[in-house]
């Protein structure tokens, strides 16, 4: 594949992530509709979609397996294989799953709207993190340590 077409595909995926970010943003306005179960499910699905984009960009087929009952966690595990820096969003994924359980387990709870608001922020963080890594793929094995750049350098 030429560099130009590879860049075009990457740009398209980033655009897709931007669209997901906008969809997450739009959910803020649905908070008081009482559709908490639906919103939590949608946010979880969007989280999965974000990870699918990351995995597909690395030339892999996103897994359909689940881990601890969540496909999101299986996708994260797949996405961080030979990319330890991707573990920086491990807890973000787990928080997304936790909030999903919290909201769907007790949809009528008096804190549900607040929990949904936080779940939106957690989903947005995942999207922004992956989007940042897609834009600057050579950065990020623990804050600024650009392993791929380093590996391609001839230091002699």
């Amino acid at each position: 594949m030429s560099d130009v077409s590879a860049q075009a595909i990457k740009d398209q995926k980033i655009l897709h992530l931007d669209q997901i970010e906008a969809r997450i943003e739009a959910m803020e306005s649905c908070l008081s509709t009482g559709a908490s179960y639906q919103i939590a499910s949608d946010l979880l699905n969007l989280g999965e979609e974000v990870l699918e984009i990351w995995i597909a960009a690395r030339g892999q087929m996103p897994t359909s397996d689940s881990r601890e009952g969540f496909r999101l966690l299986a996708l994260h595990r797949q996405g961080s294989r030979s990319e330890p820096s991707f573990n920086a969003c491990r807890e973000t994924c787990r928080e997304l799953a936790y909030h999903y359980n919290l909201i769907t387990g007790e949809p009528e709870h008096r804190h549900t709207v607040g929990r949904l608001r936080l779940m939106i922020m957690v989903a947005r963080h995942l999207c922004l993190f992956v989007s940042g890594k897609m834009r600057v793929a050579n950065l990020g094995q623990f804050c600024c340590a650009s392993k791929p750049l380093r590996e391609n350098m001839n230091l002699e």
Binding site: P84, C89, R117, M121, L128, F129, G132, F142, C143, A145
Partner: protein
């Protein structure tokens, strides 16, 4: 099993590796760490002739050299200062010293590089196991503990809601922190709690904050500033939505990132957030009755004056 009494004695007298950030942008962290040490009767002695830990610039180019640079700090602490515990408040320094320790224990090539460069530089090489590297959180938790802290602070942080933000380098990667995830009493790499424990002992109420180890966007600050700003804005908004009055930090990179991108978020995206940031040592200092100026709070970009007055923290 760790003998608690041994740990208390061991951590009461440590070598202090402040690192470069605490000499500059995070001066308030340095000043408050020293003030808290004095107030608690803990002895900290600066590592003689310390150097950069190699983060992050050196590590990008040559990780072997980074291991050597960190090992030289440890060598000076052990061989010049006679220390067996090195305390680093900066997550970057802490991470790199721990990584050097791990590399020297597990990678013969790293050992060979450190030995060769140490000989060339004319000092004794550091050998794995000669010193224990700890974070400022481990230090206060180990040397003082919650019970004593509770007695000394007399609940002065009561009424203050805190979102504890640890950042990513304090707990990752898990394998360089063999002492963590060892059950009750040890730190957790998935849900760190040492800062929560200490501030709760001082009377603060820790809010349930879902982004406590999430990325602050530090890696993208220069290459993709907008993503960094959005990541920080999201952290700030999540802390506010969690009901926090203040974000407690323990990493100078995260702290300055939060402060600077808070300003940028308003300028670039018109999104204003009111939450302020304080180093956990500044909060503990206030709880110990130390004045804000002596804790370097006025040197932070984030203005906590109103918070300190409103919550009667001085």
């Amino acid at each position: 099993m760790v003998d608690v009494t041994d740990k208390i004695m061991k951590y009461r007298d440590v070598a202090y590796y402040s690192g470069c950030a605490l000499e500059g942008s995070a001066n308030g962290y340095d000043v408050s760490t020293r003030a808290v040490a004095k107030s608690l009767g803990l002895r900290i002695k600066d590592v003689t002739d310390w150097n950069c830990c190699g983060a992050m610039e050196v590590k990008n180019i040559d990780p072997g050299l980074q291991t050597y640079l960190s090992s030289r700090v440890l060598s000076n602490a052990v061989n010049i200062d006679g220390a067996n515990v090195v305390m680093a408040p900066c997550n970057g320094c802490y991470h790199n010293l721990k990584k050097a320790e791990y590399d020297l224990s597990n990678d013969p090539k790293a050992k060979e590089t450190v030995n060769r460069l140490s000989e060339k530089a004319g000092h004794q090489a550091y050998h794995a196991g000669q010193a224990e590297t700890i974070h400022a959180l481990d230090w206060i938790k180990g040397a003082i503990g919650e019970e004593e802290l509770r007695e000394r602070t007399k609940g002065r942080l009561a009424g203050l809601k805190v979102a504890n933000y640890y950042g990513c380098m304090y707990v990752r990667p898990r394998h360089i922190f063999p002492e963590k995830d060892k059950g009750p009493g040890s730190e957790s790499t998935s849900r760190p709690h040492f800062m929560d424990d200490l501030l709760a002992a001082a009377g603060a109420e820790n809010v349930d904050f879902p982004l406590k180890t999430a990325c602050c966007g530090g890696a993208h600050t220069l290459s993709d500033s907008d993503t960094s700003t959005k990541l920080v804005l999201n952290i700030l908004q999540a802390a506010e939505a969690s009901g926090a009055d203040v974000i407690a930090t323990e990493c100078p990179t995260c702290h300055s990132g939060l402060e600077m991108h808070q300003v940028r978020a308003e300028k670039r995206f018109g999104k204003k957030t009111r939450i302020t940031m304080l180093y956990f040592t500044q909060l503990l200092g206030l709880a110990l009755g130390i004045g804000p100026r002596r804790l370097g709070i006025h040197t932070n970009i984030s203005d906590s004056t109103d918070l300190i007055i409103d919550k009667r923290l001085t």
